[in-house]
Amino acid sequence: MTAPATHLTDHDTGTTPFDERVAAVHSAAYRIRHHALNMGEVQGQGYVGQALGAADMLAAVYGDQLRFRAEDPHWEARDRFLLSTGHYAIGHYAALAEAGIVPVEELETYGSDDSRLPMSGMSTYTPGMEISGGSLGHGLTIAVGMALGLRYQGSSARVFNFLSDGELDEGSTWEAAMGAHHHQLGNLTAMVDINALQADGKTDTVLRTEPVTEKWESFGWYTQRVDGNDVGALLAAFDNAAAQAAAVGRPSVILCDTKVGRGVPLLENREKAHFMRIEEDEWQTCREQLTAGYEGKSA
């Protein structure tokens, strides 16, 4: 009997040329976006805009960073990815399919009765879903406990928490930010999707969170702010965090400015909304625009 295959990453091997890593993540992000559009079409609506915006972040973490075994989602030595923003589940499911943890065919059940893929992500439903997000501001607190627990047990597994800029409104996020720094959790990385949009409108009109970079720096985190739709910048940020912060017991945050609807001009230019409405006859156009953009052609 052969041991289950472990998804090794450059974190382990350090041998893959940077441009090859970028190319691999870039193509994974394209497939994640494609999956998300297909899932949105089944529902007729959904958080497609967020999934498209965050696809590069999700592709980078699953394609380039996480150690996991697709056929054994509870493998003890796995790196943990915690989706705090439960409504981003559509993007996460697409990433889990890309990672081979969830079958691609199952994605069409998204949000349906008795599906393992509910609209808001839940650990009890979906393989590879570590926590039940959705009540915002929880993910980073759980991540602190996981990072403490893994370190205490001598594990080299790392914890990644994906959160949104809207979650920076929640006081618990900052309780956890203090806790991670106090306990010197170098095995913890937070990824903040800054799409400048939340349920009631633009972030700067709902509750101003800027200056975000200075906030995280002042909480003691190794802080980088990048274009979250630039795969090369994302991977360089992960590399920097590993080299500069992890070894000295400093938690890392990668602040990712992203664009809602990224990769599909029709949606990038539509009025931004938390819950984006897409007409029945527009889905095919969206897919064509996505593919044209990926292949370097203008739609």
């Binding site: 003890e76 943990r80 839940m122 650990s123 009890t124 570590e130 926590i131 039940s132 959705g134 009540s135 501001g137 929880h138 980073l140 607190t141 759980i142 991540a143 602190v144 406990g145 996981m146 990072a147 403490l148 627990g149 893994l150 205490y152 047990q153 594990s155 006081g171 618990s172 309780e175 956890a176 203090m178 806790g179 106090h182 306990h183």
Partner: protein, 342 residues
């Protein structure tokens, strides 16, 4: 507001000796003077359990010394995590620790666990049914600091949380025996902590704590007390006092509030005896309503008399004063039973 202050001198009196005031600093004084007690039974029980189970870890939100968690922290410094005065982090992190296979005991005051961190306990610990053990200090009326510290409705809040086991121990024996069982049980638990020098009461009875079980501590023909927490101590005292009035009282101790041992309790209640519930909690949502629900569900036509805290924010003051004021004192229980019996 105090309504019965008799301890201050009249203005203008210069010759009288100033009487000693009763103060709210008597925080652990629900024990009777001279009563047998055990120091920090929770802390010592957790250390003992941790010696046998290496998965047990402890954490607190800046209240280690006040929840007897400091005993564990001193014994196992590497297994203790101070989370600061941040209760949302405390319980989110406890869930995260449990996700990695550890068995966390997380302590704070009951008011903060129940009121402030409910969402985190509910979604991060209870929904995934993790072995997160909540340790809540100052349950019910065990402090004179007023509503900011008095968790008079903690069970009412927590009873609605699916998967959560709720334990309301009577004394040091209950706590010592409960801790390893809480650690061994799957899913989240809530322990209503009695801290400091905790009375030792149940060693005088043929009793062992069993999670999920009610126990008949003594039989009696006229009245049956159904009690939990420190009110079982008062129930036993009241039963002895009522014997002097030729009233024969049975006492049934129900330290596990959820899941509730309705079978044992209903068998005791469904008799001709006067049935009285006694709890260190609001009359809303605690033991009385748990028993009432079991009685109605079973179709038993039976009146049940509650001894419980009133549905109001309580006064600050010294505990003996407050226990007397709100009917938890032994004398008040005796008087209530005699009045009920006419």
């Amino acid at each position: 507001m105090s309504t019965t202050s008799t301890t201050t001198e009249a203005p203008g009196t210069t010759t009288a000796v100033k009487p000693k005031l009763k103060t709210s600093a008597m925080i652990a004084s629900f024990a009777d003077p001279g009563q047998k007690t055990a120091p920090a039974p929770f802390g010592h029980a957790l250390v003992k359990a941790a010696q046998e189970n290496e998965k047990i870890v402890g954490l607190t939100a800046d209240l280690g010394k006040y929840t007897d968690m400091h005993i564990f922290a001193k014994a196992f410094p590497a297994r203790f995590f101070q989370m600061g005065m941040a209760e949302q982090l405390l319980f989110g992190a406890a869930a995260g620790l449990a996700e990695t296979g550890l068995v966390p005991f997380a302590s704070t005051y009951s008011v903060f666990a129940a009121r402030r961190a409910y969402d985190f306990l509910c979604l991060d610990a209870a929904e995934p049914n993790l072995n997160v053990n909540i340790v809540g200090g100052l349950p019910g009326l065990t402090t004179g600091y007023g509503p900011s510290h008095q968790a008079t409705e903690d069970m009412a809040i927590f009873r609605g949380m699916p998967n959560l086991t709720i334990v309301d121990p009577c004394d040091s024996i209950d706590i010592e025996q409960a801790v390893p069982q809480l650690a061994a049980s799957e899913g989240p638990t809530y322990l209503r902590l009695l801290r400091g020098n905790v009375p030792t009461v149940l060693d005088e009875y043929d009793y062992t704590f069993e999670l999920g079980k009610a126990k008949v501590l003594r039989g009696g023909n006229d009245v049956v007390f159904i009690s939990s927490g420190l009110m079982t101590m008062r129930a036993l005292q009241a039963a002895k006092a009522l014997a002097a009035h030729n009233v024969d009282v049975a006492v049934v101790h129900t330290p596990t509030i959820k899941p509730f041992d309705a079978e044992t309790v209903l068998a005791e209640i469904n008799t001709d005896r006067l049935a009285v519930t006694l709890e260190n909690h609001s009359v809303v949502g605690g033991l009385f309503e748990t028993v009432a629900s079991a009685v109605v569900t079973a179709g038993v036509g039976k009146r049940v008399v509650p001894v419980a805290l009133p549905d109001q924010f309580l006064d600050a003051g010294a505990l003996p004063t407050l226990h007397d004021r709100y009917g938890l004192a032994t004398d008040r229980i005796v008087a209530k039973v005699l009045a009920e019996l006419g």
